[in-house]
């Protein structure tokens, strides 16, 4: 038997000796359990997919946060006063952040003045179509509606309604119809109609 041969025999015997031995499964399980418990919870679910998703969400959030048009809605407000003729005067306005917001439903800025306008509407038989007349009030053209008073409609509302002609383009004494929705918001302004004579 050569020396090389005896080395080979030792190797074979060693390999055979090893075959009979394997790490107990309980030890293996304990090691894996220990490894899992050592993984920080933050990293437990962290891989490139989740990392990319978090990055995308944070970026989108920052973008939306810095662009009010994506989370603010147009604010519709009514303010009330009394003119020299002791008539109720209601100023309707809408605050737009961007032009794109026209497409969005407006958010009502509720206050006592707005409630007063709604209360005035309650007195009318036809609360949705307010027949009125173009008048001059406080050096501006407005619409006089019998049983309500004078209504000023801001240029912003005209834009919001997509009406190209401003109130100033109307003629004094011209009959006009204000279309109002259930919430008291002016949704359209239509020329014409019967001339109103308030008593």
């Amino acid at each position: 038997m050569t020396d090389k041969h005896s080395e080979q025999v030792l190797q074979d015997l060693y390999k055979q000796h090893k075959k009979t031995v394997s790490m107990p499964s309980s030890v293996r399980d304990n090691i894996v359990h220990h490894a899992k418990s050592k993984k920080p919870s933050m990293w437990r679910w962290f891989n490139w997919q989740s990392g990319f998703a978090v990055f995308a969400v944070v970026t989108l959030y920052g973008f939306v946060k810095n662009n009010p048009q994506y989370h603010e809605r147009p604010s519709y407000s009514v303010s009330q006063t009394i003119n020299e003729q002791n008539q109720n005067v209601f100023y309707h306005d809408v605050k737009l952040i961007t032009e794109d917001q026209r497409k969005r439903a407006v958010e009502i800025n509720k206050n006592a003045h707005y409630d007063a306008f709604l209360a005035s509407l309650q007195q009318l038989k036809n609360r949705k179509n307010l027949a009125g007349t173009v008048i001059a009030d406080n050096n501006k053209l407005a619409i006089e509606v019998c049983d309500i008073g004078v209504i000023h409609v801001s240029e912003q509302i005209m834009k919001q309604l997509g009406l190209r002609q401003p109130i100033s383009s109307h003629d004094l004494g011209q009959p006009i119809m204000l279309v109002v929705d259930n919430r008291g918001i002016i949704t359209n302004i239509v020329r014409g109609g019967s001339k109103q004579a308030c008593s």
Binding site: S6, E7, V9, L10, H17, V27, I31, H34, K39, W43
Partner: protein
């Protein structure tokens, strides 16, 4: 789908232990450690079992892997992962044997006595049984040098693991093999 899986398994198969350990250190993903355990778990346990008993071997094996897990971020690719973990295992084992007062530092001088005591092993008929018993009866330091070499570790790595000189490792290996061959009646040239 199956193609993707086979490519993945192929890539995993070819990935070195060192690369897996570095990835495990960076990500703490237990899947990398599980591959290392499946590759080296039995080798390490066999080494520890050869140097102690089943209870101690299981405890030290688990303790060694836990040290690997706890020190995963400090691993650097300065040597093979196998030599690194065997070194941890050896020191952990010796600490435990010292604690149990079972550690006796026996150097080469004892080889003659041990060879005599092992002569009884020859009575066994089967060569494998003779080998198993002869291996078990080798002195601690000779047996570990022999096992580490059989595990594919180089002399330099064995010297590092056992914290000794390469010449000493060579001597231990020579005595270990001479003893084994003598007991197994494997006579090579020059003996």
């Amino acid at each position: 789908m199956s193609f993707t899986l086979s490519v993945k398994s192929w890539l995993r198969f070819t990935e070195s232990n060192e690369s897996l350990m570095l990835k495990y250190g960076m990500t703490s993903e237990s899947k990398y450690l599980q591959i290392l355990v499946s590759r080296l778990g039995d080798d390490l346990y066999h080494f520890l079992l050869s140097q102690s008993d089943p209870d101690v071997a299981a405890d030290i094996c688990q303790a060694t892997w836990e040290k690997v897990i706890n020190n995963r971020r400090s691993y650097s690719e300065t040597g093979t992962f196998k030599s690194w973990i065997f070194k941890i295992a050896r020191f952990t084992l010796i600490d435990e044997l010292r604690r149990l007062q079972r550690w006796q530092f026996v150097e080469l001088e004892e080889q003659a006595d041990s060879a005599d005591s092992m002569s009884k092993v020859i009575a066994n008929n089967q060569l494998q049984l003779q080998f198993d018993e002869a291996l078990a009866k080798l002195p601690f330091l000779q047996r570990e040098a022999f096992i580490l070499q059989q595990e594919g570790l180089r002399l330099r790595e064995i010297a590092i693991i056992t914290a000794t000189e390469m010449e000493t490792v060579k001597s231990r290996l020579r005595y270990a093999k001479t003893n084994l061959k003598h007991l197994l009646q494997l006579h090579g040239e020059g003996e």
